[in-house]
């Protein structure tokens, strides 16, 4: 132990001996001590980086370090996310110190925007049905990669009967697992990526919007955290129109389903969920809607007791039977507008409009 002694004589003539003892700090400290240590370390680091010392390095330099992690693509994204004009951007940049600020210049920003716009994940195609993202799979992959890099990827689970996740938090994908084997419904014991695809008509002017949400993040329902896949100006969202819109996206949604998505170096299967309002969900799966004889797209119960559909009612019950049981449909009963499917009996398929 390193000791340093010194003696102090007081006015009353009494001497006192002090011994300085250096001992290691406590391993676990509480909040205020931790904050003080962080602040001291930050001041020390910034004084070296920025070339100023002491008090001056405080607030400004802290901001510089934090913002220096704002990548160029994120600066471009922020400008468009906030709907900033170039004039506003220049004013903000000047206020933050102009060339000394961490914001890049307008010319660099425009150049970066041109490069980003040309990337496959951001390519947009315009067809007679609407404006669509040309490549959905790279857009989803880009978002997943960004979340993983920022350490913001959140695991989502499928829960069992005891309400416990059916896999361990850090479980890996088995080496021999084929991500596309189960087409959007992988086994619950395998780590997966939850993606919901939703479609809805609304707004003024009216348009159908197709939105892809990545559930493996905090606040997946924040519109800024979702991917706008298409905007299709239209007056109606009936099956023929929606089928035409989805005709562009279905192969692109099925691409990650078949291939899987790379998450931290392992290829995970995708669990596909269908979102949207009741009407659009019915339309996407090819169901006639809430006024059909079997109004629920998930089970076969009829709407209400009637003599016409007495056989169906006897077999599957009605919605008015609140005690159940309800008979779930199979995924292969959902619409693919084939002749064979259209000739099936009512209980075997969902009548395509």
């Amino acid at each position: 132990m390193d000791c340093d002694e010194f003696r102090v004589m007081q006015k009353i003539g009494q001497g006192r001996l002090y011994a300085r003892q250096i001992s290691p700090r406590k391993g676990a400290v509480k909040k205020s001590q931790k904050n003080k240590r962080w602040a001291a370390a930050r001041r020390l680091t910034l004084a070296c980086e920025v070339g100023v010392s002491g008090e001056e390095s405080g607030a400004v330099a802290v901001r510089r370090t934090a913002a220096s992690h704002l990548f160029v693509r994120e600066q471009v994204g922020l400008v468009y996310e906030l709907g900033l004009s170039w004039t506003k951007f220049i004013k903000i940049r000047r206020a933050l110190g102009g060339g000394r600020s961490v914001l890049i210049s307008r010319h660099e920003l425009r150049k970066a925007k041109r490069v980003l716009s040309a990337s496959p994940a951001k390519e947009v195609v315009v067809t007679s049905t609407g404006a669509h993202l040309a490549n959905l799979a790279p857009a989803v992959l880009e978002r997943v990669t960004a979340l993983c890099d920022a350490d913001q990827f959140v695991e989502r689970f499928v829960y069992g009967r005891d309400h416990k996740p059916m896999r361990a938090t850090y479980a890996g994908v088995p080496a021999d697992f084929e991500p596309g084997a189960r087409g959007g419904c992988p086994p619950p014991s395998v780590p997966d990526v939850h993606i919901s695809v939703g479609l809805d008509k609304g707004g003024d002017p009216a348009s159908v919007k197709i939105v892809v949400s990545l559930i493996n993040q905090d606040q997946p329902k924040n519109p800024s955290n979702t991917i706008l896949a298409a905007v299709c100006p239209c007056r109606q969202d009936q099956y023929p129109q929606v089928a035409a819109m989805m005709g562009i996206h279905s192969p692109r949604v099925e691409e990650p389903l078949a291939r899987g998505i790379d998450v931290r170096g392992e290829r995970r299967p995708v669990r596909l969920l269908l979102s949207g309002d009741f009407e659009s969900q019915c339309t996407v799966v090819g169901h006639k809607g809430p006024n059909a004889t079997m109004p629920c797209y998930q089970c076969k119960s009829t709407k209400a007791p009637s003599t016409t559909h007495a056989t169906l009612e006897k077999r599957y019950g009605t919605l008015q039977d609140v005690s159940g049981p309800w008979h779930m449909r199979d995924a292969d009963q959902y619409a693919t507008c084939t002749e064979e499917r259209a000739n099936c009996g009512q209980e075997d398929h969902l009548s395509v409009t």
């Binding site: 468009y80 609407g130 939105v211 449909r329």
Partner: protein
């Protein structure tokens, strides 16, 4: 694209809006059953004014002229006032309750109580606990079965059926319904309406294309990614948080937006 039937999300926002509206309509139907059509029309105005005064909500031109999701939660929080309205309407001049009102009022109150419990879990964007999931199933069953038992004319609509049969299964399987809900999708309509004028063009289609291009670029600055720059504070320890302030604090009465409840 054929999603598995168990992986179709039970539309929490639309369930909330639809069932909230159904419960309000039920109050009017009770008045029709006990009094007459004319009395029910007047009562509908009284109810609308009450909702504005108590819950401070008003219908919107979209969503079919119903209330937005947030307003539905506000109405649920003030369900006591909503339950008291038909009771007051059906009571006699001296405040005595009519026999028929005595029959409906407790059932109506129970329905609101059960729905409030269901509504909160339905819309919450967090993983529910095992106890919450179990309670949700029993509350949903109690809610729909109670409605069907007490109000014989009520038809179990597809939305009520979804909340009874599909939502508990989905909650059990995925741990949350609100996380998977359609709120983000609905929000895009408002965003498009606000931002589309920034991208004027000759046609709606060209304007929409400019909007999609812009939003594709904006995706790089999504809040989920930028959250890395703002590390979250740890939650306060159990019992260290201050109790919430009373809800009535700072709510000064304002002039009513609705015309007074007079009939032409």
């Amino acid at each position: 694209m054929s999603p598995h039937p168990r992986q179709i999300v039970p539309i929490p926002v639309h369930l909330t809006i639809g069932i909230n509206s159904r419960l309000l309509r039920l109050a009017v139907e009770v008045v029709i059953d006990c009094c007459c059509q004319a009395a029910a029309s007047a009562f509908a105005f009284v109810l609308a004014e009450l909702l504005h005064a108590e819950a401070r909500v008003h219908p919107v031109p979209y969503h079919g002229g119903l209330f937005i999701g947030r307003d539905c939660h506000a109405i649920g929080e003030h369900s006591d006032a909503v339950c008291a309205a038909p009771e007051k309407k059906l009571s006699g001049p001296n405040g005595e309750s009519a026999e028929i009102a005595v029959r409906y009022s407790p059932a109506y109150k129970d329905a609101w109580c059960a729905w409030n419990r269901v509504r909160k879990v339905l819309n919450r964007a967090t993983i529910a606990t095992a106890a919450e999931a179990t309670a949700f199933r029993s509350d949903a069953a109690m809610f729909v079965a109670g409605l069907k038992h007490s109000f014989g004319w009520l038809n179990v609509s597809p939305k009520l059926h979804l909340s009874l049969a599909r939502a508990p299964d989905f909650l059990d399987e995925f741990g949350s319904i609100g996380l998977y809900g359609e709120q983000g999708l609905e929000a895009w309509h408002g965003r498009f309406g606000t931002m589309a004028p920034l991208y004027p063009s000759e046609t709606d289609l060209a304007s929409a294309a400019a909007f999609v291009r812009t939003m594709a670029l904006a995706g790089d600055a999504s809040p989920a990614v930028l959250d890395r720059l703002n590390p979250k504070r740890a939650s306060a320890a159990e019992g260290r948080t201050r109790p919430p302030r009373p809800a009535t604090r700072g709510c000064a009465p304002t002039s009513p937006r609705f015309p007074s409840a007079t009939r032409r």
